[in-house]
C-alpha cells in the first residue's frame, strides 16, 4: 500500500505511537507521508523527540504535534524539539524508558494498570499511587494506547507477519500491539510461507497495513 494511503488512518487529535530509538527503527517514510497528509494536534509517543531535521523532527517542525510523551527528548541533535519546548509550543511528558515500553505492552495485552518499582522516590512519582508489595514500594502505572502506530520492520509477508533487523526492533513489537491501527514500513514484502514461523517477531494479527517505501 502507498504510504500516503496508509497514513490516512491518522486523524486530528490522535495519539500516534512512533517506533525507533534515535533513527534506528524510525519509520521516516511513514512520517513524511503523515506530514504530507496534514493531520495535526497530535500526541506523539516515542522514545525520543526527534533527531536532526528528518523523521519525527520534521513532523514537529511542521507544527503538527501538541504533545510528546517520551523518555529522552534532550540530545545533541534535538534542536527542533528544544526550540519548540523553550518557546512553550509543545507539551512534554517524560516517562522512564522501561515504564514507557511496559505501559504500551499493558495496553496491547489488555492489562488495566500495573505497579512498577521504577521512579519511586523521584520527581516522576508525583501524583502516582504508591503501593507497598512484599515490603517494596511500587507506583501505579496506566497503559498508553495509540490510535495509530507507525513502526519500521525489516520484512513482512503478505499477511503482515513481521521480522525486524538488529536493534532497529526496539519499540516496534510493543507499539504494534498497543494501537488500534498499526502501519508497518518494511524494506521488502515476501510471499506467505517464506518467513520462518519460528522467527516471526510480530504476528500479523497486530499489523493492519504494510508499506514498502
Amino acid at each position: 500500500m502507498p504510504a500516503g494511503e496508509a497514513v490516512r488512518a491518522v486523524r486530528d487529535g490522535d495519539t500516534v505511537l512512533v517506533g525507533g530509538f534515535g533513527m534506528a527503527g524510525m519509520p521516516v517514510e511513514l512520517i513524511d507521508a503523515l506530514i504530507e497528509h496534514g493531520a495535526g494536534d497530535l500526541t506523539i509517543v516515542s522514545n525520543n523527540a526527534g533527531n536532526g531535521d528528518t523523521g519525527l523532527a520534521a513532523l514537529l517542525a511542521a507544527g503538527r504535534v501538541r504533545k510528546v510523551v517520551c523518555s529522552f527528548p534532550r540530545q545533541s541533535d534535538s534542536w527542533v524539539f528544544d526550540g519548540l519546548y523553550r518557546a512553550g509550543k509543545i507539551e512534554l511528558e517524560v516517562v522512564p524508558q522501561g515504564n514507557l515500553a511496559e505501559r504500551m505492552r499493558a495496553a496491547g495485552a489488555g492489562i488495566g494498570a500495573f505497579y512498577s518499582p521504577t521512579a519511586v522516590g523521584t520527581p516522576l512519582a508525583e501524583g502516582k499511587e504508591v503501593r507497598v508489595i512484599d515490603g517494596r514500594e511500587y507506583l501505579l502505572e496506566y497503559p498508553i494506547r495509540g490510535d495509530v502506530a507507525l513502526i519500521k520492520a525489516h520484512l513482512a509477508d503478505r499477511m503482515g507477519n513481521l521480522v525486524y533487523r538488529k536493534t532497529a526492533r526496539n519499540f516496534g513489537p510493543v507499539m504494534a500491539t498497543a494501537a488500534a491501527v498499526t502501519i508497518a514500513q518494511v524494506s521488502r514484502v515476501v510471499e506467505v510461507g517464506e518467513l520462518d514461523p519460528e522467527a516471526v517477531v510480530t504476528p500479523a494479527i497486530y499489523v493492519n497495513r504494510v508499506v514498502v517505501p
Partner: protein
C-alpha cells in the same frame, strides 16, 4: 577509573554500561571473562564500537553509536529489555552521576535547573533493576563541591540503589552500615574524610 571498575566485574556477569564514561569499561574487561554486555535498546552480547564497513544504522548502543555484535548475541524488543532490568536478571549496571548520597541514593538525570529539558531515558529503570549499581564520577564537581553527599540536592533517579562509587581519587563501598573507603589514588582516607561531609570507615 574504567580499569578499576572492570576489575570488580565478576566473570560471566550480565552488565549494562551507561552512556558516556561507563562505555570505556568495556575496553578493560579481561579477555575470556565471559562478561555479557546488555544494551537497553534491545541486545545482549554487544561488541565494540563499529568502524568503517562494520557501521550499520540498525545496530547501535544506548548512546546511538554504531556497535557490533559478538557470537551468541541476541536481539529483543524494549519491553523485554527493561523486563531484564526490572526483573533482577542484570548483575551490574554502571552509570555516571551528579551526586550519590551516603545511603546510596542516585541523582544523575536532572540538575533541576528551571530551564533544563528533563530527559531520563532508562536511568531510573536501571537504578532500581540491576542487582548492583556502580557509579563512575569525579569525586568533586568543577566548583570543588563533593559529589558524594549526606543527602542529594539534585532530583533523585533512584533511592538506596548504589553499592559502589568509583572516582578519580578513591573507590567507595556503600552499604546500610555506611560508606567504606576501599582504595585511594594519590590521596589518603584521612584527607578525603576532611573534604567530605560523609562519615567514612
Amino acid at each position: 577509573m574504567a580499569e578499576v571498575v572492570a576489575r570488580d566485574i565478576p566473570d560471566g556477569a550480565y552488565v549494562n554500561l551507561g552512556i558516556g564514561q561507563p562505555t570505556m569499561v568495556a575496553s578493560y574487561l579481561r579477555p575470556g571473562s565471559g562478561v555479557v554486555l546488555h544494551t537497553e535498546n534491545g541486545m545482549l552480547n554487544m561488541g565494540p564500537l563499529a568502524t568503517g564497513d562494520e557501521i550499520d544504522p540498525d545496530l547501535t548502543n544506548a548512546g546511538k553509536q554504531p556497535v557490533t555484535e559478538l557470537p551468541g548475541a541476541s536481539y529483543f524488543h524494549h519491553a523485554d529489555s527493561f523486563a531484564m532490568m526490572r526483573g533482577g536478571h542484570l548483575d551490574v549496571c554502571i552509570m555516571g552521576a551528579f551526586q550519590v548520597s551516603a545511603t546510596g541514593d542516585l541523582a544523575n538525570w536532572s540538575t533541576g535547573a528551571p530551564d533544563a529539558i528533563p530527559a531520563v531515558g532508562g536511568a531510573m529503570d536501571l537504578a532500581i533493576g540491576a542487582k548492583q549499581v556502580f557509579v563512575m564520577m569525579t569525586l568533586f564537581a568543577k566548583d570543588g563541591k563533593p559529589k558524594l553527599v549526606p543527602s542529594c540536592t539534585y532530583p533523585l533517579t533512584g533511592r538506596a540503589c548504589v553499592s559502589r562509587v568509583y572516582t578519580d581519587v578513591a573507590t567507595f563501598a556503600l552499604s546500610p552500615d555506611g560508606v567504606r573507603v576501599v582504595e585511594t589514588f594519590g590521596t589518603t582516607a584521612g584527607e578525603l574524610a576532611a573534604r567530605l561531609d560523609v562519615p567514612l570507615s
